[in-house]
Amino acid sequence: MIGFVGLSHLGIVYGSATAAKGFDVLGFDPDSKLCDNLTAGLLPVSEPDLPELIQSHRERLRLTSDPAQLAACDVVFFSLDVPTDSANQSNLTPLRNLIDLTAPHIAPTAAVVILCQVPPGFTRTLAREKPNLGGALFYQVETLVFGNAVERALKPERYMIGCGDPRTPLPPAYAKWLVAFGCPLLPMRYESAELAKISINFFLVSSVTTTNTLAEVCERVGAEWSEIAPALRLDKRIGPHAYLGPGLGLGGGNLERDLVTVQTLAAQHGTEAGVVAAWQLNSRYRRDWALRKLHEAVLGQTENPALAIWGLAYKIDTHSTKNSPSLALISALEPFEKAAYDPQVRIETGTIPNFSQAPTALNACRGADVLIVMTPWKEFAGIPPAQIKAVMRGNVMIDPFGALDRAEAEAAGFSYHRMGSPAQKRS
């Protein structure tokens, strides 16, 4: 029996993937209502393919709010997503509380694995503070991505396992679980594994920032980033899966949290980490790309403009709005009439001034002077620009990610703006 303690996105996805690999799973969360909802198939998170995965392996998934039942588990994963505050600092209190609550019930022979996003040093300190927490304590790096979490949980690229002593063989039950995923296993020190998670995110941030920096240059010098990116992907030193899509800064909270963690570590240990501040600055600057474009193309010229906004989530295939560029944009447009549409996110009426949420994408555009596509949901690509134009009053389309086809938009009469692309397409 494999236990998952903490049923947020992380625990639900890994628990379901574990059941899919043929293990019996016990999911624990002190929130009995959450357990009831999950048992009834009501998920608190939106993740492609997750409902189907749970449905297919329901017979091996059991949920409880009774910590005593964890005694039956051979491996116990702590799988609570660590929340971050508005300054992107981790709040480890809920995780610590969960450990305190369940530790007395975990079998003394069980392998205990911290799967949560914790800073370097956390697991060794925990091992010192709770020497009787199961039979052996590990930290395992999670590399889920919102919107692609199921695939990444089922087919991990590798597992990085933080150990008290990497030379000691892994407990058989935990080793069996790891082997079931058929990927390379990399045992290492606790601190190395904890920092490996952050290291991955740092490389992603550096790619994102580099892309954004160059995409803006493209806009000014008449270059087209979408022509450059494929060439970069063919370079072995950069790679086919590199983050080369221009974006609106960092979102979601995880990358931002790791930047703050390293800044804190650098300050504590006196290491040079000035690049982090530059990345944060670039992220804040990119967040306002659409705002600057909107003022330049519409707000400076139009009396009482009506704005249509597609997308509220911080990226596609998630309901998360943490650090969402769309909400950041909306917060800067208080005086203007805004109609928004998002396939997943609902915002309570009255919480944002002059804001309404439309039932369909086209409805949001009725009478609008400008359409701003802030989250490039796939369904948007299927809406012909001519149909959009027909219901709008104005002719400006700000489509940062290129969710719609530029040529079709321009043919429909739109003045079209996209990141990494000059405003007027050159012939």
Binding site: D288, L291, R292, L299, S331, A332, E334, P335, F336
Partner: protein, 303 residues
């Protein structure tokens, strides 16, 4: 970096006191306040010499607790770039701070300068370090900090620091390398003199925009630090061409040879903070501002 509007809905201040009666900005601001029927008092050095020993006391007597105080007084680089001028400028604000110790106004607006920013940064924003360009820039940094300290007392006063880039307008008395000089020489001498081809890109803000912005800050009782710039840097060469086109007579361009090793620098502004905090404020396009200013200078338009 954030701006707080203590009046989310704009509301005229009860009275505005403007320090610096003789300056270009103060004169325009006083006219705008009068046009808007906003009670105001303009205090110049003839009324209160901010460098005199009794300046704080005199100012204290003139100020009322619900006044909004706009500080435009400063000895500009034309009056001197030396240590003595620097110290005089600090002395003026020392007097203001001493007066504010007693009279806690409803708001302070300090007209600072983009010279507070590190000149090595080609994209300036409010978060750019305030290292100060020369003694003039350092002076504004020091004054900002003095006022921050004075405003933060037991009864905090909302302090709004407004940092303009080079301001242009027909009645600006400065004669630095700027649109003002170009307009004057185009009108008087039919000539504009540029260094090289005037490649350096700079932001130029129109005086009417500065005044509108100050009024907006007053009405919202805004607090924080914000740049007032157009957000669109253009080269001096482009400015010169635009001005020449406005002239009824041909204007000759004179291009001075640059000295050996001279470096062409540019300065742009990221105006995201202003767009967020003042979404309804928009800058006048440069060609429109230059046309209005040229007409005023030529006596064919309103001053």
């Amino acid at each position: 970096m954030r701006i707080t509007h203590h009046n989310p809905e704009p509301k005229d201040p009860r009275r505005v006191v403007v320090l610096g009666a003789n300056g270009f900005v103060a004169r325009r601001l006083a006219k705008a306040l009068a046009d808007g029927k906003i009670p105001h008092a303009v205090i110049g050095s003839s009324q209160v010499d901010l460098l005199a020993p009794d300046a704080a006391g005199k100012l204290r007597d003139l100020l009322q607790p619900d006044d909004a105080l706009v500080i435009t007084s400063a000895l500009t680089p034309e009056k001197g770039k030396d240590v003595r001028t620097f110290m005089k400028n600090l002395g003026m604000i020392d007097s203001v701070c001493a007066a504010l110790d007693t009279v806690r106004c409803s708001q302070i607006i300090y007209l600072s300068s983009d010279a507070v920013y590190d000149d090595a940064d080609p994209l300036v924003r409010e978060a750019t370090p305030r290292t100060g360009q020369g003694l003039y820039g350092m002076m504004h940094v020091a004054r900002e900090k003095m006022l921050e300290s004075a405003a933060a007392g037991k009864t905090p006063i909302p302090l709004c620091i407004v940092r303009p880039c080079a301001i242009y307008g027909s009645d600006d008395t400065h004669n630095s390398y700027s649109p003002n000089r170009f307009m004057r020489t185009a009108l008087k001498d039919r000539k504009i003199t540029l260094f090289g081809q005037g490649e350096e890109q700079r932001d130029h803000v129109y005086i009417s925009d500065v005044i509108r912005f100050l009024l907006t800050c007053l009405r919202h009782r805004s607090e924080g630090a914000v740049n007032i710039v157009s957000g669109k840097a253009v080269s001096f060469g482009e400015v010169a061409i635009a001005i020449a086109k406005l002239s009824a007579q041909p204007v000759q361009m004179e291009n001075l040879t640059r000295g050996p090793g001279s470096i062409i620098t540019h300065r742009h502004f990221d105006i995201s903070l202003r767009l967020r905090a003042f979404p309804e404020f928009h800058s006048t396009p440069l060609d429109v501002g230059l046309a209005e200013s040229s007409n005023e200078l030529a006596g064919t338009g309103p001053a």
